[in-house]
Subunit: 469 residues, 3 copies
């Protein structure tokens, strides 16, 4: 098969109905900008892609430049918005650089990327096997609303597409609509597009006029009818939410098919780049973002949010844990209400319990910080036990300082470790101490006054207070 | 158009199927009692409203009295429940006070307020333009269940309504049902209602008998068929949940249409009185209650609950934040797990971090309380840094006292500030201190003993403990 | 009615498509293993049940042994998987032990337990009243996929069932499918099953061949068409999620019907064994697990997770509370962000506030621990007030020790109570104290140094720090 291929992604339009400062193509869908999903779809057809940009040109080009797969992407700029035919024509100069002879051009909107891969493959097959100069996808709707209508002749062959704005009443009654995906012979496209005129109500150059132009030349136009859902594009925030929910279903179905247990899939959000091992359980409301990786047999508790982090094998993360840019080793027990911040690195069998915050710290095997603690800029040795209410005082208003605990240190509750400070292996810190000086290994260190007791004083205090009323 | 208008809201019935102590009309739908939604709908028709009360009369009247818009609401009492015609008749005495001549009366149940405004406008138009003495809404269902059936003659004109309890088998097969909204000519209503009899199986006076009475007089009865969903009323807790979810969809669609981003709208709850600025992002599971106002470009993290509060422009509220009756200024960073309680007032660029509770306190520009703290009854100056684990001890078992920090105070971690106490601007409090006396500006204050160290004592302690086994 | 009854639950198959180490019948559906739901359904038909086991035989038998209702369950082992007829035949030896004469055998898959009780009752009625030797349930689907097709003769009588794998193209077009539930005359079953052959493409003994065998004997076969949903079984994780969501709807509908308010029922998960009183409100995202019991008029805040616990009458649990194996008395105020761990026992009018963890402790009437505290292994007297940041230091690295507070103790903020320790009734502990020795009733005890102040030192410190840059 000597025919070459190019995908054309039309991404020049404004996103006015999103009511957003950001282009709709830069909005986030399962952790990736929308345009990346469009490029994925374009790549199924061809590694050569032309992206037609216009509105927010620079922002889009910058983001597309980071779409780091091995694709040959060229940009064409459509300076004015004169219709889809005009947008396609803007790309000709770039396409010509590939010096193609026989080629097919797949044309899609940058905001319409819900095709299933098999649908696109079927579409190319239909286009190629019938030798049509133009193929397009259609869908059927009870009320086709603002979509272009497919007008067929008595033999059922497509004759033309009429835009809703230009349609007569009987044409508006047609339920088959233009789904907005085209495949065109490159030579046909180049020759015929210049014949498209803008003598219509909107003064736009419609790409869809190609259909009647091809038919007038007695050339074959093919259609493939696809499920309406696959034709959806993003024009409003509500569309964005709908498209996100469709990807959510696809992604969650995939993970369930490899054995992930989730009883409430409609409330679980897994970004596209997340990786899950075998035998994982995700409770209701779990949100996994970015480059997160969960290893096998881990369980993630309800409403936990995990971003750009690793959770090791057989680790249990209890409800409401908030983990960002952290590495959790195997067989950890985390949460509920544990907050792991960037740079938290937990080896195996570490426990981090409720209302504990770990930032930029390394906790070695078997270390525990189970209650109400702040551990920052610290190195915590094996099997250390950090008592409830312990704070590493890592900041003096100017700089951050480090706390180092050797293996097996026991820190009594409500202690303050004023960094920089080193506690030797096996040392014990008495409860409530403020430790400002290094502690020797195996020493007991404490900072504490004598306990004083004023007998009966509480009763007197209460009497006085009551009298004051 | 010289015809006058009155809306009649039937709200006398018991709510037995709710299994609730509270009238169903007092249940909360997106932050407002159900009856308020009913009154909103009634007001679309007319500013003159009669509410027919009966069960829980006093509670209802009290709540309706606080429906503070500029409406003329009168109450009529239906002492016994003898059917809908009887309920309407109970209102005559009140309606007559307006001394109307030509008038239309819109009759609706107090628990049925899902009409779209355009539907009601279409309905009044149909009623007025055809000059019918009675108009009513119908809906079509595969199985009309317990609803009254619309019986039409061979020309398609409505002849009568037969209640399901009174219907024959062929009548029960009719799919067009009475949706329960009526518009009646006041004179017709007054004259004809007394002819309604209760000689039926239920011994009830049915308002729906008006249809056959009008037809017997050869007078015109009009119908408007509406979507079934708009006819829904609330009889059970399940109905209440369904109605709430319909309003949830309407409200969320509205906010998305003005640019609010929410990827999981089915889990986001926004009360009716909430106001949102431009460019706001609401993550999954966010709940916004009461008179909350979010300014532009703010982002609200997953599962946060915000009630009767303001969130300033470009502020970020991270996951699981719980904010009630608080004012958060612009460019704040709040949460995750931040709790702002009534009277928390945060100026611009304030940071309140995880496991921090703020109550009745003012934090000035740039102040930070990032970890595990309780700040109550306090005034915190600009750029103060409240260390992790700091507690304002504001309560002695009898009274609450105030803590005042000047600008730029640095409070070391795990400190206790025993109120009433004032820390001068620029002062530093050493970690772990209990501060009971005022501190001068720019002073360093601390309360601490010497750190003591018992060399090797930890090891001895462990030996002893092991021997004890 | 002298006919006896046996239920046969086929539970021998592997669960390969679940991609789980655990049998699909041991997966959790609303807090119970799937097989328990199957046994419930089997019991509606008969208290005599034979479970045919094979894959993971021992694990299944162990779990079924704990299904502690008064049922006579026998196990039969199917060693090889040679088809459904073979599975049924494996049970004959066990059935014969009951020495039945006239009997009906209800046959179901262990993973298909969505029948409504009325459906099964209708089915037995149909079977018995018509005197058929075999009855089966069918359902209708647009595309019956991999299900067996119901082949009827021109009079509409069922003639045979053809498995999808064995079906011709016209047979595949049939929309009526075998729902997989059978009722068979015991003598017919015993006599006829041996005639089933495996001369088909799959070399399996199909139970469905009984239909044509019965028809060849000119015996009556009855069908009952049921809603497709009731025929669903569990083969994949996605099926498991779907079945769980169906039970979620049924359970939530039930609780709403008795008056439980829940505005977002699709996000509320209530395990099957949970009990709810009257007038309870469950906010969005609430998860109630295990043997939890909520008494009347309690309110459970958004996203709270409660497991194997009791919540007393009129108690309020605020958002994000995590309660496990705890007993909360009446009129408590719990949360938000309260964590009650196993052994937390709270009497009436107790308050446990944000970021507070209670473990294995008894809090008497009116006790309060409102902020940032850890209370473990403690007995807290009536009306005690535990200040913010208080920690009971219950662990020395080897053992756990107890803390005892008499009635009316006031513990100042940030205190550490080093167990074992007893604070007498009415005593006051000064803020920030580390209490290591018992305190007398009505005494004031504190551990504190003098507050020192270095005038101007903070300013000098800052100057130095700035110079260092």
């Amino acid at each position: 098969m000597s025919r070459e291929r190019v995908s054309l992604v039309l991404a020049a339009g404004a996103s006015t109905r999103m009511k957003s400062k950001k282009s709709k193509l830069l909005h986030n869908v399962l952790g990736r900008p929308a345009i990346y999903w469009a490029l994925d779809q374009a790549r199924w057809f061809s590694d050569r892609i032309v992206v037609v940009v216009g509105h927010q040109r620079d922002e889009l080009m910058k983001v597309v430049a980071d779409y780091h797969l091995d694709v040959d992407i060229k940009f064409a700029t459509q300076t004015e918005q004169k219709g889809t035919a005009h947008a396609v024509q803007s790309a000709f100069h770039e396409i010509e650089k590939w010096k193609l002879e026989e080629a097919d051009i797949f044309i899609m909107g940058g905001d319409a990327f819900l095709l299933q891969r098999e649908t696109l493959e079927e579409f190319s097959k239909v286009h190629q096997s019938t030798g049509s100069v133009l193929s397009l996808m259609t869908a059927v709707l009870d009320d086709a609303g603002a979509y272009g209508r497919i007008i067929r002749n008595e033999r059922g062959q497509i004759e033309r597409i009429v835009e809703a704005k230009e349609a007569s009443r009987p044409e508006l009654a047609v339920r088959e609509m233009n789904a907005g995906f085209y495949c065109a012979d490159w030579n046909f496209l180049r020759e015929t597009l210049q014949s498209v005129s803008n003598s219509n109500r909107s003064k736009e150059f419609y790409l869809t006029d190609l259909v009647s132009l091809a038919r007038n030349q007695n050339r074959l136009v093919q259609t493939l009818t696809i499920p309406y859902q696959e034709s959806l594009g993003i024009n409003t925030q509500e569309d964005l939410a709908l498209v996100a929910s469709i990807f959510q279903k696809r992604v969650n179905s995939y993970w369930m098919s490899i054995g992930t247990e989730m009883l409430s899939p409609s409330t679980v959000w897994i970004d596209a780049d997340v990786e899950l091992g075998q035998g994982i359980c995700l409770e209701p409301g779990v949100i996994l973002k970015g480059q997160t990786k969960i290893y096998s047999d881990a369980r993630i508790g309800a409403y936990s949010v995990i971003e750009n982090s690793e959770i090791g094998q057989s680790s249990v993360v209890e409800a409401y844990s908030h983990i960002k840019e952290a590495r959790v080793g195997p067989q950890n027990k985390i949460g509920p209400y544990a907050r792991l911040r960037p740079g938290a690195i937990l080896d195996s069998e570490v426990h981090v319990g409720n209302f504990v915050e770990i930032k930029k710290s390394h906790l070695a095997e078997g270390a525990k910080a189970n209650h109400l603690s702040y551990v920052g800029d610290s190195t915590i040795g094996k099997r250390c036990n950090i008592g409830a209410g312990t704070i590493t005082c890592n900041y003096d208003g100017f700089h951050k300082y480090e706390t180092v605990l050797g293996d097996g240190v026991f820190v009594g509750s409500n202690s303050s470790l004023v960094a920089p400070v080193t506690i030797g292996a096996g040392a014990i810190i008495g409860a409530g101490s403020v430790i400002t000086k290094d502690v020797d290994p195996n020493a007991i260190a404490l900072e504490r006054s004598d306990q004083r007791e004023l007998k009966g004083a509480a009763e007197k205090f209460r009497q006085r207070k009551k009298r004051e009323h």
